[in-house]
Amino acid sequence: MEGFEEAEILLVEDSPEDAEITIRGLKRANLGNKVLWLKDGEAALEYLFADGQYAGRPTPRPRVVLLDLKMPKVDGLEVLKQIKADPRTRTIPVVMLTTSTQEGDMLRSYDLGVNSYLVKPVDFKQFSEEITRIGYYWVVMNKVLG
């Protein structure tokens, strides 16, 4: 469990394959070592609020949260809602990742205060480029508040 506190990118993704593809993209941008992958929304919330299995740890502040929209138990929108509703986590940038091209999800995400929204392209090369861009922007370029 060492190194959790150092995680700069929190990836919340239920599909191991998608997670692997995403992490591979991030590695290309030399951001692969700073990624923490959690498999569902519940774990993500416990991690962010130092609760449940992460209880007692100092509150972590990742540079960016990459959040899959469709997940079992607690879905991406619910996680986003809780992050943005709590003053401790409100300023952490959240990028919504989704396969869906439906506009409704995007609108709801923006309503809840998402910082960026990425429809994952089918093309792996395109996807890698997008992930790299997002990684650079939020981790390297963006000065996190606080």
Binding site: E17, T99, S100, Q102, K120, V122, D123, F124
Partner: protein, 597 residues
């Protein structure tokens, strides 16, 4: 049956009465006037006749005086000759007659001049009598000779001639008066006759006028009666043949009148209903109690409207009616009869029920459709998410395979991986297009005025920018404005122009022309190219989803574009069609209803 004809009568009657009264009054006045003239002239005639008779009487009296005087003189002479006492008596009688006649004349004569003459005559008579007496005394005392002497003195003769002269004057004057009065009397008689004639003529004329008035009045009455009868027949006919039922009920609710139409509906004869049946007995139970209560209320209020009832025919079947009624009351406000109109609304009721059933069906169908739409939405959501996710993984892992295991998958292996990845891309495009088609097929249409020239030009720019082959020459004519959803119509232009650019891109001199025309009630647009065209035999396949007329490696595309075009135009109430010939270009057209259509 009709209240209006009765109401119109009194006024006409009083007018006729007034006229008759005026005629009668003027007739009386005329007759009275003429009668008065007659009466006055008759009175005058009587007056003049009386004065004529008076003149005659005066003359007779004067003649009496003359005669009595002559008698007296004659008796005097007889006495003088004979000295017989007989003559003395005769003389006394004559003198007495003379006095009577003079007295009569005095009573009769009123005229001043005549009275003066009469007084003169009296004096002369008195003088003469004195002479007579003097001579008689002379005879008795001195004898006949003395008498002769006295007579020869001549004053007896003079007295006689004076008397005769005065009498003659009196007679002459009286005769003059007589003739004047006779003439006046004749005039008065003529006047009277004239007045009488006038009276007769007037009465006859009045009678003739009256007769004529009566005759024309009778003819007029006959004409009016005929008109009234015709009118009554017409009203009766209208009443009976009206397309609605009419009836009247007395205060107990018993029929007093009913028209043929309602009888026909009910299946009764008039005799079976009038004075015998209560209308309430023909009403079915649910309405019957309401009607019983409502009828007394209606009699008070004076009317009732739009009451719906089920009425039973003689054969027991029923029909549904709409009842409207007005209460007819007398001048004291007492209920006389109802005047009721019935409409058979069985059909309307059936239709209303059908409509209600259809509405319910429609509501259910709409609910089903909404449910289906929701389902479709969640389905397309699943499609967009669940079908794309594995594709991305296939593509991603194929790429990883190529990158990480290059040594093992060299040669054909690399080509296989390419095929896998291209297939993934195509599948992804198909899914995206399908979702797009599904999205554009649903959702609201927000119509407003669109400048189609601007919209088409913008779409053309995008199509040219995406063009990978030879860029065509583009001609966009001025297009008529449309009234439609701009976001959706933009897809139509985008697809049609992209197709035109794509399928003409292999020409030497590709050309795309956009034109439009306004028709009565619609606007029509055409996109023509000189590209590869198509065989009209396959024209019906053009607008189907995933239907393509060209191989994918020849021209890219999923076959959804024209399906989207057709769906959007159809949803706007328009029409899509295409003409083409292999290798000679194609023209795609669509029409939209005009705003005012």
């Amino acid at each position: 049956m009709s209240p209006g004809s009765e109401r119109g009568r009194p006024a006409a009657r009083s007018a006729i009465e007034r006229q008759a009264f005026a005629g009668f009054f003027s007739a009386i006045v005329i007759v009275a006037l003429v009668a008065f003239i007659g009466y006055a002239s008759a009175r005058r005639f009587i007056e003049t006749s009386r004065s004529v008779a008076h003149a005659h009487a005066v003359l007779v009296a004067l003649q009496g005086i003359q005669a009595a005087l002559n008698d007296a003189i004659s008796a005097q002479r007889g006495y003088l000759i004979t000295s017989s006492e007989n003559y003395t008596n005769d003389r006394e009688t004559a003198i007495s007659d003379l006095e009577t006649s003079v007295q009569l004349a005095k009573e009769l004569i009123v005229d001043n001049a005549q009275q003066a003459r009469l007084r003169l005559l009296e004096q002369q008579l008195a003088k003469r009598r004195a002479l007579l007496d003097e001579i008689v005394v002379l005879q008795q005392t001195e004898g006949f000779e003395a008498v002769r002497e006295r007579m020869l003195a001549g004053d007896t003769r003079r007295a006689d001639s004076d008397l005769r002269e005065t009498l003659a004057e009196l007679e002459t004057e009286e005769n003059r008066l007589l003739s004047a009065r006779t003439a006046a009397d004749l005039r008065a008689a003529r006047w009277m006759i004239g007045a009488l004639l006038g009276f007769i003529v007037t009465v006859v004329a009045l009678l003739a006028w009256l007769f004529n008035r009566i005759r024309t009045g009778t003819a007029e009455l006959e004409r009016t009666d005929a008109a009234v009868k015709r009118y009554a027949e017409e009203v009766h006919d209208l009443y009976n043949r009206a397309p609605c039922g009419y009836h009247s009920l007395d205060e107990n609710g018993v029929f007093v009148n009913i028209n043929d139409t309602e009888l026909q509906w009910l299946g009764y004869t008039r005799e079976e209903l009038i004075g015998r049946k209560h209308f309430i007995d023909l009403v079915t139970e649910p309405g019957r109690s309401g009607f019983a209560h409502g009828f007394s209320l209606y009699k008070e209020r004076g009317q009732t409207s739009d009451v719906e009832l089920d009425v039973i025919r003689k054969d027991g079947s029923q029909f549904h009616v709409l009842l409207n009624s007005t209460a007819i009351k007398d001048e004291n406000g007492r209920f006389v009869a109802s005047r009721t109109t019935l409409f058979d609304i069985t059909l309307r009721q059936q239709k209303e029920r059908q409509i209600a059933v259809l509405n319910e069906q429609l509501r259910q169908q709409t609910a089903q459709l909404e449910a289906a739409n929701k389902e479709l939405e969640s389905f397309s959501y699943s499609v967009s998410h669940d079908l794309r996710a594995p594709l991305r993984r296939i593509d991603g892992y194929a790429q990883m395979l190529e990158e990480d295991c290059a040594a093992q998958v060299a040669g054909d292996g690399k080509r296989y991986i390419d095929v896998i990845r291209r297939s993934c891309q195509r599948m992804a495009t198909l899914i995206d297009d399908l979702l797009e088609f599904s999205k554009l097929s649903r959702g609201e249409i927000a119509r407003r005025a669109i400048n189609m020239t601007v919209l088409a030009s913008r779409a053309a720019e995008e199509a040219l920018a995406a063009c990978q082959g030879k860029r065509p020459q583009l001609i966009i004519e001025t297009l008529p404005d449309a009234h439609a959803d701009p976001a959706l119509i933009q897809h139509v232009w985008g697809n049609l122009l992209a197709n035109a650019v794509k399928y003409s891109s292999k020409r030497e001199e590709p050309l795309v022309r956009v034109s439009g025309v306004r028709h009565n009630g619609s606007v029509e647009y055409h996109v023509a190219d000189n590209g590869v065209g198509f065989d009209m035999r396959y024209a019906d396949k053009l607008f189907g989803v995933f239907q393509r007329l060209h191989a994918t490696d020849e021209y890219e595309g999923t076959g959804v574009g024209l399906a989207i075009v057709q769906r959007i135009v159809t949803r706007h109430g328009g029409r899509v069609w295409a003409r083409g010939e292999p290798d000679r270009g194609a023209t795609f057209s669509f029409s939209l209803p005009a705003e005012d259509a």
